[in-house]
Amino acid sequence: MNEQQTRDLERAIATDPRTHELGIRLQVRGDHLVVSGEVASEARRAMVLEVIRDHDPGLDIVDYIVLSAEPGPGEPQHEQIDPPRR
């Protein structure tokens, strides 16, 4: 997989109706295709990998995708914003 094909596959992940993930980055490292970026759920991670496999990159896929931190209960963080001096 050359550089151009890698970028084309990144664009495919951004535009494929199954994914529409704009923050996924691909890098070729030897026989490996390193997939990184952040998605909101396991289902979305699986879909990104499915789109990649559909394009048959001919490389071992290394999944470095991270899941967004799921918001949970707890005290919300407050910040005071003071008025401008004008």
């Binding site: 909101a40 759920s41 919300p76 910040e79 914003i81 401008p84």
Partner: protein
């Protein structure tokens, strides 16, 4: 010092069926923390009406007014008008070159909102030059900033105690740090920042830059907060904005 107006905000929740149930339980009693909840675009993942229904179900649980702008994802399926109609029917105010006010115990909150568009910042900015396609791209970015300015100008007549500018695209590059510099022109628009600086805004809130950072300032020193959910890693942030009359 008067009590602050409490503004909760989040962006880029990218809702679809797989995330149903993620937000509603966390915002059901949000009135204990905030006077209004602002959502800075990318309400949906693919821009479908079905996903907008998930958003309405989740954020309709809030017991304070919910104000939103759309993001680029919400336009992808060409259903943005239907999405706005659905959200308005479900009680979410959608701002697009428009403004609204909310009277709270601490004073009047004014919010002007727009999705915004690409353009860029100093040294990395599209120019209104050359091909018609380039002029159209640049012109749309400039137009969205002009519309934000009009909305902020109109808001002034309502005499808000606190004014917030809500957008999806960023008005400054401070909050883009962490994103690759090559894509900054696609993440924000310095003209939005100019509109904010020239119209008495107390706080600007945006999303879109998932790998950016939360805090920044406009060139004139107005606080800007990137509330993209992957940045704040919470259901929302609360900004306690002290009214200007105390300055």
């Amino acid at each position: 010092m008067p009590d602050p107006i409490r503004v909760a905000a989040v962006g880029d929740v990218h809702l679809a069926d797989d995330l149903r149930g993620r937000y509603a339980p966390l915002i059901t009693n949000i009135s204990e923390e905030a006077d209004a909840l602002l959502v800075a675009g990318d309400l949906t993942q693919h821009g479908t009406v079905e996903e907008a229904e998930v958003f309405a179900d989740e954020f309709g649980a809030a017991d304070v007014p919910v104000l939103a702008v759309l993001g680029n994802h919400d336009y992808h399926s060409g259903a943005e008008r239907d999405i706005v109609r659905l959200l308005e029917d479900r009680g979410v105010a959608v701002l697009e070159g428009t403004s609204t006010t909310i009277d709270t115990d601490a004073g009047r909150l004014g919010v002007a909102g727009i999705k915004g568009f690409c353009l860029g910042f100093s040294g990395r900015c599209a120019a209104d030059f050359g091909e018609p396609e380039m002029k159209a791209f640049t012109g749309h970015g400039i137009e969205t900033a002009a519309r934000l300015r009009q909305a902020l100008d109109a808001l002034e007549a309502e005499e808000p105690d606190v004014t917030v500018a809500l957008s999806h695209f960023s008005p400054v590059d401070d909050t883009l740090v962490g994103e690759p510099k090559e894509i900054w022109p696609f993440l924000g628009n310095y003209r939005l920042g100019e509109a904010i600086d020239e119209t008495g805004v107390d706080l600007a809130v945006h999303g879109h830059a998932h790998a950016g950072r939360e805090k920044g300032l406009t060139p004139a020193g107005v606080p800007v907060r990137n509330v993209a959910q992957p940045v704040i890693q919470a259901a929302f942030r609360v900004y306690d904005v002290v009214p200007r009359r105390s300055a």
